[in-house]
């Protein structure tokens, strides 16, 4: 049965039942060469992709394993890449948690009117892809008299606030028991001492298990390389926060740690014209956030799931 493949190549000697083994080898080698050439052609798009990645980027270690010197090199490389790809001069810092700080957010739903300025501010502050209008915040237009998310509408249009509606902004709840962190197979995401759940965008493998696990739809995936005009890039960046993310990794709200760890307020709060948003350090007894948690009847989203959000809602 072994001779049939080269039978077509032996018209000159049809009387010979046994095929010349040399010829058989030649035919096989021909097919092998053809196969290899087709293989090389098939994977050719990878070559251009490989050019984009340097050896340092490929072998870069996990953020938490990097020494100060390693971090300096990594950040210098990322800044140079941003300059090359986006034409923007940026500064990437490595903001670490402030000892004795645990950040907590609260929103007064009686005041929020669904104007969406927070969504836009997040989009700009965090260097999101322009075309997709990506943002870490989604605002649901809810029916008064119902807390059922199933009745909410995140694509509402027109003049707000509408009669009979209230507005529920949802972003990362920085859970104390974050399911997204548990499921990550490579520890690319973790909770920092100040309560912020972060991602090492250079370690994430893009399996999107965290996106499936999050009950608040707080995580986003970079389906392609984000596109931002050079003049619109926010140059004030941090490694774990708003630096422009690579394609193929998950990203998330970090309570603007590049601002909040430097004593500023999150961009979404600063942009809010209604004063519905309150942010602060829960460990500080004098903070506004502490007063609200102690004096208002606050609640959290999907409390029954046991995720223990660090994000509270209340009505006046």
């Amino acid at each position: 049965m072994a001779n049939s493949n080269s039978a077509q190549n032996t018209p000159a000697s049809p009387e010979l039942p046994v095929v010349n083994p040399t010829r058989r080898k030649a035919v096989k080698a021909g097919f092998a060469t053809l196969g290899l050439a087709a293989f090389a052609a098939a994977i050719s798009p990878l070559r251009s992709a490989a050019k984009q990645t340097s050896a340092q980027a490929f072998f870069q270690n996990h953020y938490r394993e990097l020494s100060a010197e390693d971090k300096r090199k990594v950040i210098a490389r990322l800044e140079a890449e941003t300059k090359e790809k986006y034409g923007a001069e940026v500064h990437i810092a490595d903001d670490r948690p402030i000892p004795g700080t645990k950040f907590v957010y609260a929103i007064n739903l009686s005041v929020c009117n669904g104007n969406g300025n927070c969504v836009k501010a997040c989009h700009e502050e965090n260097n999101h892809d322009r075309a997709t209008h990506q943002s870490y915040i989604r605002v649901l237009e809810m029916d008064k008299g119902s807390m059922e998310l199933g009745n909410g509408d995140s694509e509402y249009q027109g003049v707000v606030p509408k009669d009979g509606k209230f507005y529920l902004p949802v972003q990362c709840q920085q859970c104390d028991e974050p399911p997204c962190v548990d499921v990550c197979p490579v520890k690319a995401t973790w909770k920092e001492e100040d309560g912020i759940v972060v991602i090492d965008y250079n370690w994430c493998i893009g399996c999107r298990y965290c996106e499936a696990a999050c009950p608040y739809h707080a995580r986003r995936f970079n389906w392609k390389q984000p596109e931002i005009p050079a003049e619109e890039v926010n140059p004030d960046q941090s490694y774990l926060s708003n630096r422009i993310r690579p394609a193929g990794v998950v990203e998330k709200c970090t309570y603007c740690l590049h601002r909040t760890r430097r004593g500023k307020l999150p961009a979404c709060l600063e942009a809010c014209p209604t004063g519905a948003r309150v942010f602060g350090n829960i460990l500080d007894p004098e903070s506004n956030i502490r007063w609200i948690l102690e004096n208002k009847r606050v609640y959290v989203l999907k409390e029954e799931l046991g995720t223990k959000p660090a994000f509270f809602y209340y009505f006046d």
Partner: protein, 419 residues
């Protein structure tokens, strides 16, 4: 080969020295054959290369070329992955009768089930690779090299059990094949313990894969204790069904006159497993529709459509129809005999369960989203190309392994006739 009694050291040296020859002759067997074989392999190679090219494009341009979104963040790849885990686990339904119940006839063909498991696991691993946004960072997932979030992440468990199952089956198949090639009787110590481990391991691969999904509290559709049992029940239908088809093909091509018993046993297993699967489906449907509320939104969307969105309705009813028709055919007396009824029943069950695992399980887990957005999903051309490419590659692996196995087990390739 057993003409002259050999000393122990001689036996070992023969076993080792003959191995390069075995590999070489296997390669020859794999690259030569009838025109039908060569055409089949050429077609599979072509499809696999088209898939590879689509994957290379996906890696170069980003996952935006898929139909997935932030709402439906897993699609055809993970659906096929889940189905292939079932195929791999299904092979155990030959191993249990063969080794636990000492079914002599099953013992003769059990290697087919183990080989199907190898090909299925290879496909599983390729589907996971296809789904990764950063396949270049794959090494982060390797224990020791990267950062392995074990035992907390169910995905790390899945990496371990799938690769472990692959190794177990490679060992058992490789050992049995090679000893048969040498003309020796396999030493039970070298494979029986692994066979028994593989029985539990087969159950574990599909259980752990179910735990991937059912452990997520934010996804009510998946968050049911019935998920793992349902996975197992459906795997014990789709796996044996696929094996029966493979045996039929082998019989047609190699005129391998396998005993009729094993396939009959498999059909009987499928009958029980399919009924168990359907009972559990009905039980889930009851809770979804009788309880109602937003927890039933997914069921509503799947079966009847919700707020004008009905992308899955056709899939859902097709799956139900295929599974029910397949079950009826399975219970016909004709299914116990060789013939068309049996093969049609197997094909219908495979198709029904494939839909059930994908469009009936992975996709609806995301619809509506956790914030109750209704975003629909349909696979893009790239996803179909890559999926078909993986399937073609899996079939190539299966074909080549079975070709060598058939040669060796039919006595057409032994160390004795090595020139």
């Amino acid at each position: 080969m057993s003409a002259a009694p050999l000393s122990d050291s001689d036996k070992h040296s023969t076993a080792l020295l003959s191995y390069p020859g075995f590999v070489k002759r296997s390669l020859v067997v794999m690259t030569e054959g009838s025109y039908a074989f060569l055409t089949w392999m050429t077609v599979l190679t072509a499809i696999a290369l088209v898939g590879l090219n689509a994957w290379a494009n996906q890696v170069a341009t980003g996952m935006a070329v898929t139909g997935m979104s932030d709402q439906v963040s897993w699609g055809l790849y993970i659906a096929n992955f889940t189905f292939c885990v079932g195929l791999a686990a299904g092979g155990v339904m030959m191993v249990i009768p063969a080794y636990l119940y000492k079914d002599k006839e099953m013992h003769q063909v059990v290697i087919i089930g183990e080989t199907v498991a190898i090909a299925a696991i290879v496909m599983c691993l390729m589907f996971v690779m296809a789904d990764l946004g950063r396949p270049d960072r794959f090494w982060h997932l390797m224990p020791g090299l990267g950062k392995f979030n074990w035992p907390i992440s169910m995905l790390t468990w899945d990496v371990l059990v799938l690769n472990g199952y692959l190794l177990l089956n490679l060992h058992v198949v490789g050992y049995l094949l090679y000893t048969r090639y040498l003309g020796k009787t396999p030493n039970p110590l070298w494979y029986i313990p692994f066979v028994f481990i593989s029985i539990f391991w087969a159950i574990s691969i599909h259980t752990v894969t179910a735990f991937l999904y059912c452990g997520l509290g934010g996804r009510p559709f998946w968050n049911t204790a019935l998920l793992a049992p349902r996975f197992l029940a459906s795997a014990f239908v789709s796996g044996p069904a696929f094996i029966i088809i493979v045996m039929r093909v082998l019989r047609l091509i190699y005129h391998y006159d396998a005993p009729a018993g094993p396939a009959r046993t498999l059909i009987q297993i499928m009958r029980v497993a399919m009924v168990a699967n359907l009972v559990m489906s009905v039980s889930e449907l009851f809770t979804v529709f009788y309880t109602g509320g937003t927890h039933g939104a997914t069921g509503q969307y799947m079966y009847f459509g919700l707020h004008g969105h009905d992308g899955l309705v056709i899939w859902t009813w097709s799956s139900l129809l295929l599974n029910l028709t397949g079950t009826v055919l399975l219970f016909l007396p004709a299914a116990l005999q060789r013939g068309t009824v049996r093969i049609v029943a197997c094909l219908l069950c495979i198709a029904g369960i494939w839909i059930e695992k994908g469009m009936g399980l992975i996709i609806p887990g995301f619809i509506p989203s956790t914030l109750h957005q209704l975003v629909e999903y349909s696979p893009s051309t790239t996803e179909w190309k890559i999926s078909l490419g993986v399937l073609a590659f899996g079939l190539m692996v299966l074909t080549l392994l079975l070709k060598v196995i058939a040669k060796v087990f039919l006595g057409k390739m032994t160390v004795a006739d090595q020139s």
